[in-house]
């Protein structure tokens, strides 16, 4: 029964990804911790593992599903997380040539963009609030931000370096 709730919850999270997965992070954290599938610390660790591995970060759904119900849980959570919107967008892609010239779909696209961005900023805020809890973590975050803003190193290397610094500091 909980498996159904798990799949349904992530199908719901799928619909909350507006302009990128980050927009669903605040609500996802609330729900998965609320259901007792993971603790909020495990959730942040899972999100970090999803960043360290290739592919979409929303694969964190599989991490949560695995913790709750093993491999079937991981599979169902991932299906819920990715499939619903894929079907919708696939159906629309087949009709798109006819729809895109109308004024309302165009207005809808322009109205949704800033909404998605606002949710993404909120998601960044949630990730930061969970990951930064003292001076060393704040310094690592600031350093990573600087290195990325200057494009000195690719993101994957920056994350690994942050991990090495954390290990050296014994966080």
């Amino acid at each position: 029964m909980d498996l159904v709730v798990l799949a349904a919850t992530f199908a719901w999270m799928n619909m909350l990804c507006i302009g990128g997965g980050l927009s669903a992070v605040p609500e996802m954290e609330r729900q998965v911790v609320g259901h007792g599938w993971v603790t909020s610390r495990e959730f942040v660790d899972g999100y970090t593992l999803a960043q360290l591995t290739p592919g979409p970060n929303m694969l964190v759904a599989a991490f949560v599903g695995y913790r709750a119900h093993g491999l079937p849980g991981a599979l169902l959570a991932a299906i819920g997380m990715f499939l619903p919107s894929a079907i919708i967008v696939g159906v629309i892609a087949r009709q798109w040539e006819h729809v895109r010239v109308r004024p309302w779909p165009d207005a809808f696209a322009r109205a949704l963009a800033p909404l998605g961005l606002g949710l993404a900023v909120a998601g960044a805020f949630t990730v930061a609030r969970n990951a930064i809890h003292d001076w060393p973590t704040a310094l690592i975050a600031a350093g990573a931000a600087l290195v990325l803003a200057r494009a000195w190193l690719p993101p994957f290397v920056v994350i690994l370096l942050g991990g090495v610094v954390g290990w050296l500091l014994g966080l």
């Binding site: 360290l52 109205a111 600031a142 920056v158 991990g163």
Partner: protein, 175 residues
Amino acid sequence: MQPTLAQVLRAFLYLGATSFGGGRTAYVYEILVRRRRWIPTPEFLEDLTLSQMIPGPNVTNLAVVVGHRLAGLAGSVIAFGAVLVPGAVALMLMTVLYFQTGIPSSAQALIRGGAAAVAGLVVVMTLRLAATLRDWRSIAVVVITFVAVGVLRLNTVAAVLVVGGVSLWLHRPRA
């Protein structure tokens, strides 16, 4: 140029296995448009808007739309699966390690440090995107959404319905 299904499969497996961190749509652009020249830029931008207009994770949505453009329904299905599988396998291995064997405290420190770095990255990337906004309506929608969901931690769905309605009104078609 119309790629075969096998070429679509290979390209999306490659994308799925090598895209780390943020900015994945830029990476898709680099691989499919600039390097392989499968899609002209204007068509790619249209696919990008369509995939972002629909809720759901960006990269899988984009894979479905671009896969459809390249090879129809079969292209969609193959692109969707191929972009997910490499990362899903890698993450499952890490997840099993994390929960089963338990991660030693030194690795915990590694993850905490990595998480702090991730926080820095996502803040920079989202602020960089937000900095591209110019018109007051979009800026107002971004700020209100952030305060409602991020700071006040209001229910996301309620916030999306209310702010989305206002945003749609602000961006309504002008006769």
